[in-house]
């Protein structure tokens, strides 16, 4: 009997939803990510998380009168700018009023210049971290829920300054990430009065880093800043520096954060420190709850940022009172930042209600969203130090 009731209720729901669709207007948001290409293993989960935000809004029934939200997906390929542009044009011509994407920095840059700006369509990227996107011309249409690598460079420089370390040698992995990070760090650190004795790139996957370490040791410095990968060149450099006694203290960027590093190098790493982006607290917990309830993998990289990006788009439309590109672009910063009621994942319905009543919201989301500067996440970083017991949090910055 119970089952029958449930079944008939479900049928009624589906029927009413189907009939509602015919006389309710539908608004489309684009989900533009690299579904094929180098980060194809991450993007399905990112898209699922973004769609979770939309279905949460739809289920609450609190969005603008008679409007349902739907998502259309587009594939940037991540590496091919013209493919990314074509995919974005397709989304816009299908009627997408805003874009959650792109994922890769190169794709975001191309889509912003070729599609978003000519059509006045706002976009929020969940994962483009290139410092170049902070200064690019965007007509106030580009936002991101991922922090720029420039920000981490600044945070890391501040950590060093607070510890009174004023002269360091730097080595970075020789790719866009390492180079961008190292440039940002060097600019901040030297701006704060620190001096960089040498800035030496290293290639990943080499067997031997004694030449690099030789140069760094010759240049000297109080510590060695390693901006590389924990399972590759960065570890090789540290190992070699420890063996030759070139440096005792290592300062590490986010790519170097891994349990295996401490396990392999052991007690000689004690006293070294670094930073890593970190979301914690009730926002992250709430997100984990709703994703596991929905059967989505919310632990994957950038899923939190994706959910937040889509939630911001929906709330900005609500705050503007109409589902248009202009309204969204104008209100993203307002809903993301204080003042207003704090909103966690799973509370989008409540947020929409507040906005409908003319109130203010301060979206916290899964990542503690706080958009600064040209509309990018300030990012929260965990400053850690390695002790005998492994990683230990010093503070959040």
């Amino acid at each position: 009997m119970k089952k029958l009731l449930l079944a008939s209720a479900a049928t009624a729901l589906v029927a009413s939803a189907a009939s509602a669709e015919s006389h309710m207007s539908e608004v489309k948001f684009g989900i533009l990510l690299g579904f094929t290409g180098p980060i194809e293993s991450l993007t399905p989960m990112m898209a699922d998380s973004a769609e979770l935000a939309l279905s949460e809004v739809n289920e609450s029934g609190n969005f603008l009168e008679g409007v349902t939200l739907s998502a259309v997906r587009g594939d940037t390929t991540c590496v091919d700018a013209s493919a990314a542009t074509a995919a974005a044009e397709q989304l816009v011509s299908e009627g997408a009023i805003a874009i959650m994407g792109a994922a890769c920095s190169g794709a975001s840059t191309a889509v912003l210049a070729n599609v978003a700006m000519p059509n006045g369509v706002p976009m929020i990227s969940p994962s483009s971290t290139s410092p170049a996107l902070s200064t690019v011309e965007d007509n106030d249409l580009f936002f991101r829920t991922a922090p720029s690598d420039a920000r981490q460079g600044e945070v890391l420089a501040q950590v060093l300054m607070d510890k009174g370390v004023e002269s360091v040698a730097v080595t970075y992995t020789n790719n866009d990430y390492g180079k961008g990070f190292s440039d940002a760090f060097a600019a901040s650190y030297e701006g704060m009065g620190g001096s960089i004795t040498a800035n030496v790139p290293h290639e990943d996957d080499k067997g031997d880093y004694s030449a690099e370490v030789g140069s760094l040791a010759s240049a000297g410095g109080d510590a060695l800043v390693v901006l590389g990968y924990a399972d590759s060149g960065g570890k090789g450099v540290i190992q070699s520096a420890l063996d030759t006694g070139a440096f005792d203290t290592f300062v590490m960027g986010d790519g170097m954060y891994a349990d295996s590093l401490v396990a392999d190098l052991g007690s000689s790493m004690v006293g070294s420190y670094g930073t890593v982006p970190w979301s914690e607290g009730e926002g992250a917990d709430a997100f984990a709850e709703i994703t596991s309830a929905a059967g989505i993998n919310g632990e994957s990289s950038f899923t939190r940022e994706s959910y937040d990006a889509m939630a911001l788009l929906a709330m900005a439309a609500m705050a503007g009172g109409e589902a248009t590109s202009e309204a969204i672009a104008a209100n993203i910063m307002d809903v993301a930042n204080a003042p207003g009621e704090k909103i966690l994942p799973g509370e989008l319905g409540k947020a929409l209600e507040i906005l409908a009543d003319g109130g203010d919201v301060d979206y916290v989301g899964a990542t503690g969203v706080e958009l600064v500067g040209p509309g990018e996440a300030a990012g929260s970083y965990r400053e850690y130090e390695i002790t005998e017991d492994g990683y230990e949090t010093v503070q959040f910055r």
């Binding site: 040498a198 080499k206 004694s210 010759s218 240049a219 399972d231 063996d243 030759t244």
Partner: protein, 337 residues
């Protein structure tokens, strides 16, 4: 006086010791390449991956020994696994000779055909090693890590500079010296060694005097397998084992063999050290050493680095080109390429 000592220690620590260990590893690798070239008359591109195969076998045995609780005290257990690794690698190269190279020898194919065949063998070995042990790095060193520890040296000597000598570096140099001595004794003093040299110098004459070519080929492969396994294991112990890095080693190894003179065992050793020392010395930043040596007001402001470390491989290439241009037979008058 203290400054001079500091300069010497810094030089030893960052230039001499790493280059000597690296040079020994290259020399052993180049010996294998040069023997194949001298006797089988082709450049064996599969040599780097033969090294990686041999090292992989040694690692697997080492892990087995470690799990049985066997220990060599201060020395790494891998030394114990080395003979087993050599046997299996020798069987593997003999099989590859039987399946691939012997056919081309029978039809008297041009050397370039054999080179191409060896590239095929290289890719197959490459895949086999990755299949068995995976593409990521493996650690298998155990025992005492240092002979001289940098921190303890500083405390003991009171100098500002530390000196580190890893056990693996010591083992590398000592093992290389022993292996080279045995090899030269074998080539110059034993009947089989002499027949190999005769076969290398003049194949027809050697055949006429009753030397069995198949036996010479077989012994060559066994020696090469031993050299490759030892070189690979020493490199893996001293640095890290990762299949891809062994593939990359091919360039400096060939550079060493050619610089020394292909086909000349003595040349291969000299070539290994020439390449290793020039790679390290050209890319080393001399600031520290020079600062100790010159009067205070003459301190260099720059790093005094000839080439950035990114260009390490370019050094091998440049030496290779210069030698080929001005002395195509190499330093020790090997066969011209």
């Amino acid at each position: 006086m203290i400054d001079v000592l500091n300069a010497i220690v810094a030089f030893l620590n960052f230039v001499f010791i790493p280059a000597a260990a690296y040079g020994s590893q290259l020399a052993l690798g180049a010996l294998g390449v040069t023997l194949i070239y001298g006797i089988l008359r082709f450049s064996n591109f599969a040599h780097g991956d033969t090294m990686s195969f041999g090292t992989m076998v040694v690692i697997l045995f080492t892990w087995a020994f470690q799990s049985w609780g066997i220990s060599l005290g201060p020395l790494p257990v891998a030394l114990l696994a080395l003979p087993l690794g050599i046997v299996i690698t020798a069987l593997m190269v003999l099989a590859s000779d039987k399946v691939v190279y012997s056919y081309y020898r029978r039809v008297k194919a041009k050397p370039i055909v054999l080179v191409m065949a060896s590239i095929g063998v290289m890719f197959v070995l490459n895949g086999v090693v990755r299949l068995i042990i995976g593409p990521s790095d493996q650690r298998f060193a155990d025992g005492e890590r240092f002979i001289i520890n940098a921190r303890e040296f500083k405390e003991w000597s009171g100098l500002a500079e530390g000196l580190a000598l890893k056990t693996t570096q010591g083992i590398t140099v000592v093992t290389a010296a022993i292996v080279v001595a045995i090899l030269f004794w074998f080539l110059n003093r034993t009947r089989t060694g002499k027949s190999m040299r005769a076969y290398s110098d003049n194949e027809d004459l050697a055949l006429l005097s009753g030397i069995n070519p198949e036996r010479v080929v077989m012994i060559t492969w066994i020696i090469v397998a031993a050299l490759a396994t030892i070189a690979g294991t020493l490199y893996g112990l001293d640095k890290v084992f990762k299949p891809f890095t062994y593939f990359q080693l091919l360039l400096p190894i060939f550079a060493a063999a050619i610089v020394g003179g292909l086909g000349s065992p003595l040349g291969a050793i000299a070539g290994g050290f020439v390449i290793a020392f020039s790679e390290v010395m050209v890319t080393y930043a001399w600031k520290k050493v020079v600062t100790y040596l010159v009067p205070e007001n003459l301190e260099p402001s720059g790093l005094l680095q000839l080439l950035s470390t990114d260009y390490k491989f370019a050094v091998s290439f440049a030496i290779l080109v210069i030698v080929l241009l001005f002395r195509p037979t190499g330093l020790f008058r090997g066969k011209s390429v």
